[in-house]
Amino acid sequence: MAVLKTLLYLLVYPGLLFLFVYSTFAEWFDRKVFARLQNRMGPTHTGRWGLLQPIADFVKLMAKEDIVPARADKTLFTLLPIVGLAIVLTAGLLLPVWMSDPAAPGMVSFSGDIIVLLYLLSLPTLIFFLAGWASTNAFSIIGGTRVLTMLFGYEVPLFLSVLSPALLAGSWRLAEIAAFYRAKPLLLLPNLIGFVVALIAVQAKLERTPFDIPHAETEIVGGTFTEYSGKKLAFFRLMTDIELVVSSALLAAVFLGGFGGGPFLGFVQFIVKTLAVIFLLSVLRAVTGRIRIDQVVTFAWRWLAPLAVLQLFIVILIKGFVL
């Protein structure tokens, strides 16, 4: 029975199937919002309001010819999309989808899971870099180096800003952090700076405008994914979608608190909160143009990192004097 439960947990909910469905929905939502902001329609034809469009894209890519360049490192080239997908799926399991009750948490909730989640979220960046490097294409290599260069910019602000609320809550466990803020919702307000910093850093992590530098198509064609096609590209795209869901869920859990109300309401809250974060990310995507790689690093260290440190100070002060 336990085995069956684990399998169900891994494959159906909140594992593979749920993440697949929800991430495609998130992509649809992102695309639709992006399009509407630009006065366009967005996906319309596949399914009601184009809801099935991301799935159709996925299926189409799965059916396409899969080409491995002759000079590429074939093992690495083939392995990377699968490993990457596995990593983000694992990260998805750690999300507090509905169980924010610290007494009976989710299956893999443990002290320090926020650290593990952050760690799992940095791994895709490495995967992208390796994917670019393994392709041995000039564009991919440039894309790969850009991925790494950007990593040095946004990773520190992201960690600092996500860990500040955890510090305030006094726990390294997502469920406990959510429970803490459910008890004291007013304490979410001091974390506002951290939320903004984390939003921007997550945007950079997800390589979306203005940080879509590693695959800026007008400069370096497909960037890291230039040589990828067919199933491998489909996996990579799915991976990016799931990464979007996981990172926005992380931000939602840490910064937006929770309001309890049992499994069903908790699940609805989870959806609403993540969609709100995705909406903000889409607006950020629509409102900016792509910046240059040197501008990313300058921006991250001149603005994001100091703001994140400021957030940390605020949290420490509150913890020392108010609580």
């Binding site: 006065n39 629509a286 143009g289 910046i291 240059r292 790689i293």
Partner: protein, 400 residues
């Protein structure tokens, strides 16, 4: 470590085929080779086999975006050869279309600049507003791209009062939108940060390399055929030559937006002063032996046609120089020592129309065997000997 990256002949940043071969070190471009010849249609040879009337439509198809400018340049030259004078209303209508075309071309370019800078929202908005002028052109001429409004001795279609009102309304909408773009679009920090200080071209270099159009005007070279060598009614039209002195992509953007306002002014002038009367006179089928140089300020710069007739129904020689070709040597200079990230912007900033630039050869076998690229190093050496280059200043900081 330096390596070569090929931009083109097929590349997302290029809407038409051209090959730019970059030698890059990290993210910095060290050398650029340009190779032309992917888009040759042999138009100049073909023009010698077609009659004067057929050539109107042939020259119109030199370019898809500035189709009217080539046809007008050709037609006003041939009218001089045939010694016919189109009626005033015809001339006004012809240049009404040409100013509307300039508006559409510059709006298109603004969108492209946004797209190349990864600012897709700007791209969508400008192109949405460009539809206004495209619809007007369709109503005037019957088609969105190839207006075919020119004929020898005037224009082919007249304008009625309702359409005149519609154009004025459309121009009002566009004016508001353009002001908005000027105010807002040019101050969005991520966008301006990408444009400012990129693709420097000093005035001396622009002159030595014979740059034309907004590229030259953004470097402070005040050249505009409409002012220097006024054709048709441009000596009476109220407008100023838009220039900038920043010598970078931001300057080229500013020049184009300013030119939009100048075009609106000219369009309103035309519609207010539109004289009554016929729109065309009958043209003969033959032209006396003569030669003529026809100049026209296309949206991308000066367009020059050299037409020679020998008394028959067909031209003896039609030489077309499109503005993009004149801007290639300058582009190479602009790209050098830039970042990879700036390639699409700098290249787009000359508003390249490769169709225009390449039209001369009958291309039967386009297979590329061994590589033959054009080395511009020698050109650069010569240009540097003749003109001092500004020290390469780059805006690498976050712009606020």
């Amino acid at each position: 470590m330096s390596f070569n990256i090929p931009i083109g002949p097929q590349h997302p940043a290029l809407k038409e085929p051209i090959s730019l071969r970059m030698t890059v070190e990290g993210e910095v471009i060290r050398d650029v080779d340009i190779r032309l010849g992917y888009n040759h249609r042999g138009l100049e040879k073909l023009a010698e086999e077609k009659s004067w009337i057929q050539n109107i439509y042939l020259t119109e198809r030199i370019c898809g975006i500035c189709s009217h400018s080539h046809a007008t340049c050709y037609v006003q030259g041939v009218e001089k050869l045939m010694e016919i004078e189109p009626p005033k209303r015809g001339i006004y209508l012809r240049y009404l279309v040409s100013e509307l075309e300039r508006v559409h071309s510059h709006l298109l370019w603004l969108g492209i600049a946004g797209h190349e800078a990864g600012f897709d929202t700007f791209f969508m908005y400008t192109w949405r507003d460009r539809e206004v002028v495209m619809d007007l052109l369709e109503m005037i001429s019957g088609n969105r791209v190839h207006y075919a409004i020119n004929t020898l001795g005037g224009v082919r279609r007249d304008l009625d009062e309702a359409l005149r009102k519609k154009i004025l309304e459309g121009i009002d909408v566009l004016k508001k939108r353009t002001e908005y773009y000027f105010k807002i679009g040019a101050s969005e920090p991520t966008f301006v940060g990408r444009l400012a200080g990129v693709g420097k071209l000093s005035k001396e270099l622009a002159m030595a390399l014979c740059a034309v159009g907004p590229t030259a005007r953004a470097s402070g070279v005040t050249r505009d055929v409409r002012k220097d060598d006024p054709h048709a009614f441009y000596d009476e039209a109220p407008f100023d030559v838009a220039t900038a002195d920043t010598c970078d992509v931001l300057g080229r953007t500013v020049v184009r937006i300013k030119e939009l306002f100048e075009s609106y002014k000219i369009i309103e002038f035309i519609l207010k002063a539109l004289p009554p009367g016929p729109v065309a006179v009958k043209a003969p089928r033959k032209a006396k032996p003569n030669e003529v140089i026809s100049r026209y300020e296309a949206p991308r710069g000066e367009n020059i046609h050299y037409i020679k007739s020998n008394g028959s129904e067909k031209p003896e020689r039609l030489k077309v120089r499109a503005p993009t070709l004149a801007n290639y040597p300058a582009t190479v200079e602009m790209l050098r020592d830039g970042f990879i990230a700036d390639i699409p912007l700098i290249f787009a900033a000359i508003d390249p129309c490769i169709c225009c630039a390449e039209r001369t050869v009958e291309l039967r076998n386009a297979r590329t065997g061994e590589e033959r690229t054009v080395l511009f190093s020698d050109l650069r050496r010569m240009a540097n000997e003749r003109a001092r280059q500004l020290p390469g200043q780059r805006n690498v900081t976050w712009p606020f």
